[in-house]
């Protein structure tokens, strides 16, 4: 568990560059960090997974440093902004140093925030930490800050994240509508969090109302629910607000302008940022309060903030039908508490064209119209767009005739401000802050055709990208028709050929034939022992498979190659056998532990019979049989075994299937494909044995003592003797004056 952990800067080429300060909470006093690539403390967080980076550097250790002296000025996160230092009386929610806690990690949204940060030249990322409920302590997620990758710490609880990043005063809640209430309620109670943003749409009204009450009691601000968030130009961006980096630069959101904008809709906010960039010196801050009936903060709340923020010179409001928020703004305009110029539009003027029952207006009370006639003027404040527009117009807001005129109205209001000297030319600020160029993301650069790269992997046997997977370009749906079988799948994936039916059938017969050979053979025995040791299915299977080799099941390739070669060269069987013997090599494919000429291996007989009927020719098998005829003269158990039979017939199959060139046949054999046949087949039996043992809950297998011949050697000389002998040798060497020369211990 970490106490304080600042962002770790991870530079792929240089490994860790900076960890500004890390302290472990375990009672071990381990304190550590990296400074410009050098490890600065002797004990680096044994309780944290970050210690895995410690081994990445092979540099000598420096003397331990105390936490307080670990200063990493260049990259350290900035201190928390002094609240209301700008004289805005608490109206300021964000600044270029604002950092946020991000609840319920969304990679793309976090990345968009960091991209914004980089483009507008923030010194450090705006996401201080990520909270993932139930995450193990000490984890992190990666994100880009420009072209540098940074690791953002992940915490299981908001409390832990807040303790680690006490300067992060914005809580961005990406929880679902189900859990937004509980997670937000927790965040409201964290002292260091001042502003909460609730993204989820569908939070029950009662939950929102209680959150509003809790936030009011704690003096905190809630933006949302059902919002994309907001953006302070050149300073801080919430989640997905303001879209892509292209859009951010187009809309000049990388540097502050002087317009405060608020609306309900996130989509329209982005549209309006675009309009503001064309008609004014740009946005200072834009907030989407969200489309719910009771947003945590209302349009009026943010208009009041914009009134208080000295940087905001022009307020733009985009309201909509329903609710009474716009009337509150109108009242405050009329009362003179909002003095900055305000341009407004209220959408929903089309409502009269809709079936009246379809659009929900105003309050749900029996007499909403009368009940809302608070000023007694007789002007029913009914929530319709036209009434709201009239109220705003009457209160002194600039209100266009239609949304089409909104941009011109804003432009006109800005021109007035400029004439009064309140703001500069709308393009004046452009030169002051140039956006920092963001490296393109590899996937999007690739999509746009701006980059290319060589692939690391080539695959020629299958493709899973289309409507359905294909094996060697044959669609799976075709292979799932009755005329195909597993032999076809195997030959497509192994040889990229669609074999004639007799050949596929042969492969299947081989798979069936070699699937199992009882519990006593090496592979099955090992599988059984592993399964009884409590190992899982795959470990048990692998235990058996790893036994396959030159002495057990693995002779198929070798036999096939040898028989084919000898048959093609016309080597007489006796010369073949004796030649191998001369080289000290076994005759692969010949010989069986128990089978004899009189007691033939049934499997060999059955496969041979099938081949005789189905194969166009069986030259190699015939050769193998002739070899067997010779070896049987030496001993009765030197029969053609199943490996030899499969090997020989496989070569016959490959050579007569009319699909493989001679070179391709050799290639198949050299690649070891035939051993693969045995592995696939025997896996069926091994899995069976593992399941069998597990099903019967067989206990741990222990080999009985009486089945082992214990034949211990004589005891080696005692160690003292060895030590004395070494010492004596050293003394002798020293006496010779050639210390250590030639001494090898």
């Amino acid at each position: 568990m970490m106490d304080r952990l600042s962002a770790i800067w991870y530079v792929p080429s240089q490994r860790i560059r900076v960890v500004s300060e890390v302290r472990c909470l375990e009672p071990c006093d381990c304190v550590g960090g990296y400074l410009r690539g050098r490890r600065v403390a002797p004990v680096f967080l044994p309780h944290s997974p970050f210690s895995c980076f410690a081994t990445a550097e092979q540099e000598p250790l420096l003397p331990p440093l105390v936490c307080s002296t670990l200063s990493v000025a260049a990259m350290a996160p900035p201190p928390a902004p002094a609240q209301t230092a700008d004289g805005s009386g608490g109206a300021s929610l964000f600044s270029p140093t604002t950092r946020a806690l991000f609840y319920n990690y969304k990679a793309a949204s976090v990345q968009r925030m960091l991209d914004f940060d980089y483009v507008c030249r923030r010194s450090a990322p705006s996401v201080a930490a990520v909270i993932t409920p139930g995450a193990p302590a000490g984890g992190f997620v990666k994100a880009f800050f420009g072209s540098t990758e940074v690791a953002l710490p992940v915490f299981p609880t908001t409390a832990a994240a807040a303790a680690a990043a006490p300067d992060a005063d914005v809580f961005i809640n990406f929880a679902s509508y189900r859990s937004a209430y509980a997670s937000s309620l927790t965040a409201v109670q964290v002292p260091s969090i001042r502003t909460l943003v609730i993204i989820a749409e569908g939070v029950p009204e009662r939950h929102t109302k209680m959150l509003i009450a809790a936030a009011a009691a704690a003096g905190k601000t809630i933006i949302g629910p059902a919002t994309v968030g907001g953006v302070q130009a050149g300073a801080f961006k919430i989640g997905d607000a303001a879209g892509t980096v292209d859009n951010i630069v187009t809309c000049k959101l990388h540097r502050p302008g002087s317009v405060g904008f608020v609306s309900k809709s996130g989509g329209l906010s982005n549209e309006m940022y675009n309009v503001l960039a064309r008609t004014t010196d740009g946005l200072f801050e834009g907030i989407a309060v969200g489309g719910d009936a009771y947003p945590g903060t209302t349009l009026a709340d943010h208009v009041r903030r914009f009134q208080a923020l000295p940087q905001v010179k022009l307020i733009v409001v985009l309201g909509e039908l329903g609710g009474d928020d716009e009337y509150i703004i109108a009242d405050e305009l009329a009362a003179g508490s909002i003095t900055k110029p305000l341009v407004a539009w209220v959408s929903g003027t089309c409502a009269p064209w809709f079936n009246a029952a379809e659009v929900q207006f105003g309050h749900a009370g029996a007499k909403s119209t009368s009940a809302n006639d608070a000023d007694g003027s007789g002007n029913a404040r009914d929530g319709s767009a036209s009434t709201k527009l009239a109220a705003l117009r009457a209160a002194g807001a600039t209100v266009p005739e239609s949304f089409e005129g909104f941009a011109d109205a804003i432009s006109g209001a800005y021109a007035k401000l400029q004439a009064a000297g309140e703001v500069g030319d709308k393009d004046a600020a452009d030169a002051s802050v140039a956006p920092r160029a963001l490296p393109a993301d590899y996937p999007s650069a690739l999509r746009s055709g701006a980059v290319r790269k060589t692939t690391n992997i080539v695959c020629t046997i299958s493709d899973d990208r289309g409507e359905e997977p294909t094996y060697a370009s044959v669609p799976l749906s075709e292979l799932m028709t009755p005329s195909y079988g597993v032999g076809d799948a195997l030959s497509l994936l192994w040889f990229k050929k669609l074999l004639p039916p007799w050949a596929s059938r042969f492969i299947e017969l081989v798979l069936v034939t070699a699937a199992d050979h009882g519990p006593c053979v090496s592979g099955a025995h090992n599988t059984i022992v592993a399964a009884r040791a409590g190992k899982d299915l795959i470990s048990s299977l692998c235990s058996g498979l790893l036994t396959i080799g030159p002495r057990f099941g693995g002779a198929v390739d070798a036999a096939a190659i040898a028989f084919k070669d000898a048959q093609e060269r016309g080597v007489p069987p006796d010369e073949f056998v004796e030649g191998l013997k001369k080289c000290g090599r076994r005759v692969e494919g010949i010989g069986h532990r128990i089978k004899t000429a009189e007691n033939r291996d049934k499997r060999v007989e059955l496969l041979s019979r099938y081949a005789a009927e189905a194969f166009p020719s069986t030259h190699v098998l015939a050769y193998a049989k002739s070899v067997e005829a010779y070896t049987l003269t030496k001993a009765s158990n030197l029969v053609l075994n199943i490996d030899g039979c499969i090997g020989a017939l496989f070569v016959d199959m490959l050579m007569t299937a009319d699909q493989f060139s001679p070179a391709e046949v050799d290639e198949v054999l050299e690649l070891g494909a035939l051993n693969g046949i045995f592995v696939v087949s025997r896996s069926i039996g091994l899995v069976g044995h593992a399941l069998d043992q597990r099903r019967m809950k067989q206990p741990l297998y222990r080999h009985p003592w009486d089945d082992v011949l214990y034949a211990s050697p004589e005891r080696p000389p005692p160690r003292e003797h060895y030590v004395q002998a070494t010492a004596a040798a050293a003394a002798a060497a020293a006496a010779n004056g050639a210390a250590g020369e030639g001494l090898d211990d």
Partner: protein
Amino acid sequence: MARKKVREYTGKQLLLRQLQRLGMAGNLGASFGAGRCAQVAAENLSTSGTPDGFYAALAAAHPWLTTTRLVIKPDMLFGKRGKNNLVLLNADYSAAQAFISARMGTDVEVGGVTGTLSSFVIEPFVPHSAEYYLNIATDRAGDVLRFGAAGGVDIEEHWDSVREVLVRAPDPTSLDGGDEGRSGGSGGGGHDALGGGGHPAVLPTLSASSVEVCAVIPDDDPAIPADHVPVLREFLASCYAVYASLDMTLLEMNPLAVDEAGAPAPLDIRVELDTYAAFKNGKLWGGSTVTGGGSLEFPEPWGRAKCPEETAVDALDENSGASMKLSVLNPAGRIWTMVAGGGASVIYADTVVDMGYGAELGNYAEYSGNPKQNETYMYARTLLSLVTANPDGRRRVLLVGGGVANFTDVAATFTGIIQALKDYHGKLQAARVRVLVRRGGPNYKAGLAMMEEVGRELAISVDVYGPETNMTKIVELGIDWIKGDPAGAPVPAAA
């Protein structure tokens, strides 16, 4: 929409069952407390063979139907039924059947909206001495209680006598003293996994003697008999508990009677539920109705008969994480919209109306929340079937509009629309449809280029505009297109 109305029949069931669950059903009017309320819906009548068979079965399930005097009303989410002569009072069962059969399936106009009567409710006629008005409605700051001594059909004339008081939304952080059970910020996720999400401990409650209840039902109102005061206060407090625990946003009783035994009897009831709370109230709501398989019915508003295309889009919307909406305004209209974004879609419709062509507006359509390609395809197909349904030789325009998207991949959503346009190749020409596109956001350039390309491929007129053009510019262009139609002048009209 988060707030949805339920039928009077459903509302009464919800109220009674929850009062019973909360142990607050001790002192209720006999008829209401026994759940005496029967529903006659057109679909039930038609599925039970003959109406006589249906009524016989209904009487078997509700024996009181044949032994008490009855009240019969349409149950179609509209009020002022008495004033519209749609209530039959103090009738017997056969008169009730005759009353219903004379009206079921007929069109009536109520409040300027015409609809078809398809659902009625039958209840015992409750003789009573007093009619009150009770209303609990949601408010940003909490809930508003309203109570009036002069309830009934003329409540609007007596509105001044209705008292109201705000019950503040509780601050959950100050309710249970400590942080126990809530500490650990991420607790929310965990609670959720258990299907909770609700915090019953922090539901607001009111006692019969609380300041708020006493404020709207005072001791000294001469219009309220002294012996009714404690009964009404207790009932109001109980209703508030039901309202809060079922996530109602409106619970209105007008009139609320006190029967001859001195017990409260809601004669008419209006209930709205916060559908956002459905995830945690499924059992409480679903178990409270006898309709269907136990899921709650949210009927369409009065007079809102859905066409098959709208129903199809509703189904799409229901099964999608994204949002897709369609309302047909005028099937013969010549301006059709398919706009991305809840905010932008309203502004497009506004602009059509503001420019004087509301009468030509065929539909309101909105999609948002990054729908999948297949979803946009199905959605666009449905819309195009409407756009091309009426090839009368006159020009039409389809506005594929939207603002600058925050995170929706514009090209990806357009891919579905393009697929649908290809399906309607030929029909688009026959209906003389011009397609105007305006959109910005991630990957918009590729999206616009694809739309231009499909225009060339299908030989239909497709013009595309990006964020540098005003969002609603294509409305103007579209209107110019139909205005210039030699085959027929459009119908300009003021809203």
